[in-house]
Symmetry: C2
Subunit: 107 residues, 2 copies
Amino acid sequence: MPNLDAAFSALADPTRRAILARLALGEATVMELAKPFEITQPAISRHLKVLEGAGLIVRRVEGTKRPCRLAPKAVAEIDQWLGMLRQTLTANYNRLDDVLAEMKTKE
Amino acid sequence: MPNLDAAFSALADPTRRAILARLALGEATVMELAKPFEITQPAISRHLKVLEGAGLIVRRVEGTKRPCRLAPKAVAEIDQWLGMLRQTLTANYNRLDDVLAEMKTKE
DNA sequence: CGGTTATATAACAATATCGTTATATAAATC
DNA sequence: GATTTATATAACGATATTGTTATATAACCG
């Protein structure tokens, strides 16, 4: 069972999305991830903790460093949830719905 | 330019996700949406305001009622952003990454 | 018109979030 | 062994979020 609350909540922050975007290019250490931002290192550490807690990233220990990488599983789970809405988007009855709404408006 | 902050933030709440799930089945009024929940009507009204602010739903006026429906556009935009991560998930270099990580661990 | 129904808004308390600075820890290096 | 580097944690203030109750508004109904 994924924690969608935590996952979406984690994605709601632009700094965290930028971190994920960076990690999409491959593994990176905390300092590497912090560099592009103007916020302090502790702030980044906490963002990473949030991302880890949401299952969006995983970390390993390598000496003093803690390289981070994307966790495919969590992203897949978010994707799965969105799939439900996506289905509605593309379904025909959605267009029908639009038409009906249009008709009612004109009444 | 979509507001991903607002969109993901809106999705972070389970009540709001449930509302969206309900709307995926078709239009519904505020009262209809409120029924399954134990929270009060004003709370639902505010959740809807959040969803509307995030562009995830649209509302029309029909007498006293304000029927809500999913807004395809916002969902598509979220989807698009996630696409970036999805790509990483399925890409082969991700597996390569795993292998490299494995090697480093064993060193 | 008067009462009910559908919804919104304001005010408020409880809790969460985000950034900062200061400090801790542990590995790396000189 | 002392210093530097990489990262984490604690404490704190500012702001945001969520729910509640009370109340407003406007359409509907008899």
